[in-house]
């Protein structure tokens, strides 16, 4: 299968959140049911829940700012979910191989939840701060990752991801990655012609190429927390490329070195010693010889 991508055009999005709801429905993710849930933490925005969480894989972000233009205001709608990176840092740090690129070659980062050991390394490695986990707690067992899977279960049956299927204004699309990139460039050119000079294709080269291609209508600051230049932390390389080989070398080295000393000490024998505390003589008990005399007057001890 060729590489595929989800396409999102923030300039067509009406922020209806049909995508957010259909993602939850398809993936059977619950929403809170306690009375007036979320009321006390309401921050006066349409962005609810405020961020991704263990039961929410996709949210639309909202940001407004004043501007001197025909509308007097910019209101940016962003699509926040896993970006399905080619150079996925989460895949690199995952100890159990739970996170991996789809074996059919679509480029989507999927996971085998049975293999998740709940270490949450993926979350600290991700430059977009996407992976979330359920079952997080002090005892450590049963913690499992949750993130967008590009509805790989639907894609494998020639269907579009749930979010794409729900989009009424056609802001979301899905298909061959190169085609989605071409479509994005066409749209960004059209936006620039209309005066949206900061319009940008986001995802062509970032992190080796994302499998979510965004058309950003405004500059990236209107799509917080989307980073301008997403990059893997250099510590990820240290952890995955340096620490483990170093550990292996250290282990092998020390075992090897100690084994050498053992081999070289084969046949070691020493005579027993005895200390005559009256005469301050150290005596070899086999030969009876004084091997050392402690000269107390001279300050020896």
């Amino acid at each position: 299968m060729s590489e595929l991508a989800i396409y999102f055009d923030s300039s067509l999005c009406t922020a209806c959140r049909g995508c957010q709801a259909s993602c939850k429905v398809w993936n059977e993710l619950p929403s809170p049911i306690d009375f007036d849930a979320g009321k006390d933490t309401f921050a006066g925005t349409y962005q609810n829940p405020p961020d991704l969480n263990k039961d929410t894989r996709l949210i639309i972000t909202f940001k407004e700012r004043e501007r001197e233009n025909a509308y007097g205001i910019d209101w940016g709608f962003g699509r926040r979910a896993c970006m399905h990176c080619t150079d996925a840092a989460c895949v690199e740090v995952c100890p159990s191989g739970c996170l991996h690129h789809d074996t059919d070659g679509t480029g989507f980062v999927v996971y085998d939840v049975d293999k998740c050991i709940g270490c949450q390394y993926c979350r600290s490695a991700c430059p977009f701060d996407v992976p979330r986990h359920r079952g997080v707690g002090v005892q450590g067992a049963g913690i499992k990752i949750d993130k967008c899977t590009a509805c790989i279960d639907r894609v494998r049956h020639d269907r579009k991801p749930a979010c794409v299927g729900a989009c009424q204004p056609g802001a979301l699309d899905f298909g061959d990655r190169d085609e989605m990139i071409a479509k994005a460039h066409e749209r960004v050119d059209a936006l620039k012609a209309k005066g949206f000079e900061d319009a940008r294709v986001y995802g062509e080269t970032e992190m080796g190429g994302l499998h979510v291609i965004n058309v950003l209508k405004y500059d990236v600051s209107m799509y917080e927390p989307l980073p301008d230049k997403p990059a893997k932390s250099p510590l990820v390389d240290v952890l995955s490329k340096v620490a483990k080989p170093l550990g292996a070398v250290a282990a092998v080295g020390v075992v090897g070195g100690l084994a050498l000393t053992y081999a070289l000490a084969h046949g070691y024998h020493r005579d027993k010693l005895y200390y005559d505390e009256k005469n301050h003589d150290v005596i070899d008990t086999d030969t009876g010889e004084v091997v050392k005399h402690i000269d107390k007057e001279a300050g020896e001890r």
Partner: protein
Amino acid sequence: MIKGYWFFGQNPLQSLGNSKYLRNVIANLDWLVFDDMYMTETASFWDAPDMRDKASEINTECYFLPIASLFEKNGTVINSGRVMQWRYQAIEPRGDSKWDLEAIWLVHQRLRQLYEEEGGALPDPILNAKWDYAGDDGKPDMRKVAWELNGYSTYGATEDFENGTPKLLDGYSKLKADGSTASGVWIYTGYYGNPDAPFDPAQQNVGRRLRDDPDGLNIFPKWAFSWPANRRILYNRASCDMDGKPWREGLAPVEWDGEKWVTNDVPDFVASKTDSDGNTVAVEPNNKAFFMNWEQNARLFASTLNDMPLPEHYEPFESPTENLLNGAGSNPAMLFNSYDSNKKGTSGTYPIVATTYSFTEHWSSGAETHNAPVLNEMMPTQYCELPTELAQEKGIENGDDVRIFNDRGSIVVKAMVTKRITPLTVNGSKQYTIGIVHDWGWANVYTHGDITNDLVPGVGDPNSFIAENKAFLVDIEKA
């Protein structure tokens, strides 16, 4: 003298204007019946936060009838595009809940019985009502109701209904004014008009599911039925010019090809006629595009509206400014504006203009949609949007509780301070507007809010009776 009221799946004590006044006034009725799937604000009006402490003093006998949802019954659904679609029952109604029709059925039968036993004033319309729509199980059969609404030949109709052989009519042109036909709704005629399959909705127009889209016009003429006569686009003659040529190439539902009208939609004008020899001939393009008018032409003025003939600018019932165009101020034909209960306010006391609207993710009063946790998660609380300048003046911050009030009511909601609503300049003065969402109430099990319509005046549009939810006066303060 009204003694009681029967609500069917409606929540007017949440959605009508001046709702606080209404819920207090409705307590004067002897009895109320609520047909609903959910305990709505209407069904539990006595439990409103401002009434529950005095609920024991209310003498209204209230009955709540649990009603089946649309998946638990057969029938038709219709949308604002006039498209009617037959829907099939998927599961049995839960517990003791019944179809609306069944509820009415049982009451009607009981009424008949009482009239027969005890007599009473004017028994004839009750005892002689045509009510032969029972299925084999004694319960109402929606298909028989469909025959009645569609229209049929009345000769032998009593036996026809009994035997299941109604002589259904396929269009309203078959309806006569001489008693030989009957139809419940003439605009529906043809929706269930196939006499060869009276018990199979799939073989009726209303049950069609064909996706044919001739010429890619998105008309889908064989998907269900559109009243009247399956006409999908009204006044479709106006899609072409005087010569019958489409205003936009490739987008007209009808088109004159030089000899006849090519119709991808049922023409809403006289496209053909029978000549003196009995042949059907095409009517050449003319200026007659609106055949519901006797002269079939467009008019510059309206003759059927209560505030006709010409459009005019009127200020709302409560306005912060004077009407510069019309000395009457607000619409003189406005309904109920003389009622004291509307407690008209002035901008001296209530300087802020409020408007109300829906939150996209909720449907109407929210009685149904608040039961979907995913929708509640998207907006966990009732809110109002107000300009940053107004918020600064009042010391209100984003997420604060605010009180919005006038002489009709007072509500507390969360503030959403935004640059998207800017102060207006009206007649030279700065005027603040705020927007309040209305889809909340006290009755849901997952969320609660106040009834925004407590603030709205209960006046009515002269033609549609709709209240003035979109412009009225309030004041706001941090709660």
